[in-house]
Amino acid sequence: MSGDRQAEPQIVAENLVKRFGSFVAVDGVSFQVGRGEVLGFLGPNGAGKSTIIRILCGLLRPSSGRALVAGIDVARDPEGVRQCIGYMSQKFSLYRDLSVEENLRFFGGIYRVPNSELPERMRFAISMAGLGGREKALVSTLAGGWQQRLALGCAVLHRPPILFLDEPTSGVEPTSRRRFWDLIHSLAADGVSVLVSTHYMDEAEYCHRAMLINQGRLIAVGSPQELKHSALGGKVLLLECESLGPTLAALAHAPGVLDCSVFGNALHVLVSDAERSLSELPAYLEQQHLRPDRLERIDASLEDVFVQLIAVDSAKQSAAA
């Protein structure tokens, strides 16, 4: 628990590969998570996020590569890591017919939390989940946000130094999601290493580092700041107009435009030179009888970065195939 071990990695993945038959779900992924670090896994559906997490929990064996959790090789000694990890699977997995208290007591029991400590830890989990006064409520009667926070409470009841959270905020309303991330950070502040997956791109902002995964491969990793500044390879312009479709089609062939995508009811245009495009694009669109209402430079969001990177990567993949 000493501060000088901050650098010592708690989770190490080296060249992880997972094949299901001939299908490659995870394709040579390597990364590390330090003590007290929150690493976010981002990627579209089927990217391989859950598969990597399951390998690290010892639920799946890697086809090749190595996974070390708390210094233990997971494939060799899956039982060795069980007591050190907490896991929230993507599918909600508490007992719905049991009350809040009964679920906590059950997980306390199978992790053999000593009886002298259990009441205190249960109180902590209940207050963390914001379920004070609802201890006797059946889990099935709780709203999504509460259920997820209770699941987190159950996962940390035995005080694991390492936490795997697989899409813990999916299907939860925004304010509850915010609260959930606050909980993750308070655990990290106590030295817990957290690997958390999400498909909400904006949540990458809450991570110390974010990893972008597409089709089983790691395509970018870094702090949110690093990703916004370096990963994109261009500048972003915001374009608002009446006819999104034709404009999108026209921009695909415009000079200096690297990429273009729809964000809400506007377009984000990736260009190599912001100043030049700002002056040249209106005239180019005018030729095609299109008139933008607004065109200005904006700071790239992580979502811009990810959408762009995934589009480029997927194009590269289908070209290779």
Binding site: C57, G58, L59, Q83, K91, R96, L98, E102
Partner: protein, 377 residues
Amino acid sequence: MFARIIPIVIKEFLELKRDKWARFRLIVPTLVQMLLFGYAATYEVYHVSTAVLDLDHSQESRELISRFTSNGRFDVVKVAQSQREITEAIDRSDAAVALVIHAGFAELLRKGQNAPLQVIVDGTNSNTALIALGYVGTIAQGFAQDYASDLAERVQGVRGMKQIQVTLEQRPWFNEDLNGRWFFVPGLIGTLTLVIIVNLTAFAIVREREAGTLEQIMVSPIRPAEFILGKTVPFFVVGLGEVALIVAVGILWFQVPFVGNPLVLLLGSALFLLSSLALGLLISTLCLTQQQAFSMNFFLLNPFFILSGFAYPISSMPQLLQWLTYVNPLRYYLVVIRGTFLKGVGLGVLWPPLAAMAAIATVLLTTSILRFRKSLE
């Protein structure tokens, strides 16, 4: 050592307690099936449709036929004039049984010789046919005896009169009406318990697999043996309750006498429950979805029933099937139940089936523990 069994047991009981539908499933179908089987599945047969061909036209032949119609077992639906009409009646299923009395029947009787009565049964329902055949034998024998004593009376003083022989064999178990039910109800205890317990446990693990809770359990430090045994205990207790319910209905409602030692029955039931539970849990560890578990259940339970000696005698099965019955816990439990209920025999006689069930339970439980992997592959 096995400290994690307790939270599993508590959890199972709580889930069972909250699951109203499960309680309904445990009690209502059991009672319904018990009553249904107890009443419907008997060896009694009434009102068998019968065709008659009397080629003798004697007083004796008419007397014999009237004996068939007078007791409610047989209804004469056709009085045939020729052998062909008899064949037709059977072929068209108008009659299940046909009686043919050939010319010369009375003649033979008067001479004190064996008089043949031809019986044709529709073998497509062999159960009814066999039973009906038994009644025919009984009636024919009664007729022959009465005729003999009558004849003896009339030829008083003449010695050396040969007793008229009975040509059809009589089956003793059709004589006493109640015996059928006494035989059936104890057997029901075994078959109903097997179906209920295997059904209950077969879903015990698959359900958690589908719900996702199993994945949560797999990442915990729990041992496979702790998990499996934790699942066993609650269902064992529930199973004992089921057995008690069925036994109570059998004794109190159907008035089946219980002459043996209740403790021997308890021991046998416990061992049988363990084997059934272990079988269900094994199914549960083998299946990935509840749908699979359902089909597996369906596929397995019938052979267990057929190869138990409940309805079909083991001794008349082909040798290969007879060997299969040796791994069937129901076979042994039926021996224990019938032994304790009807014969009142104790451990001295019943230890081999008890030991066999203990062995089956041990093997199956061990296999499910070994089969249970804490991995998704």
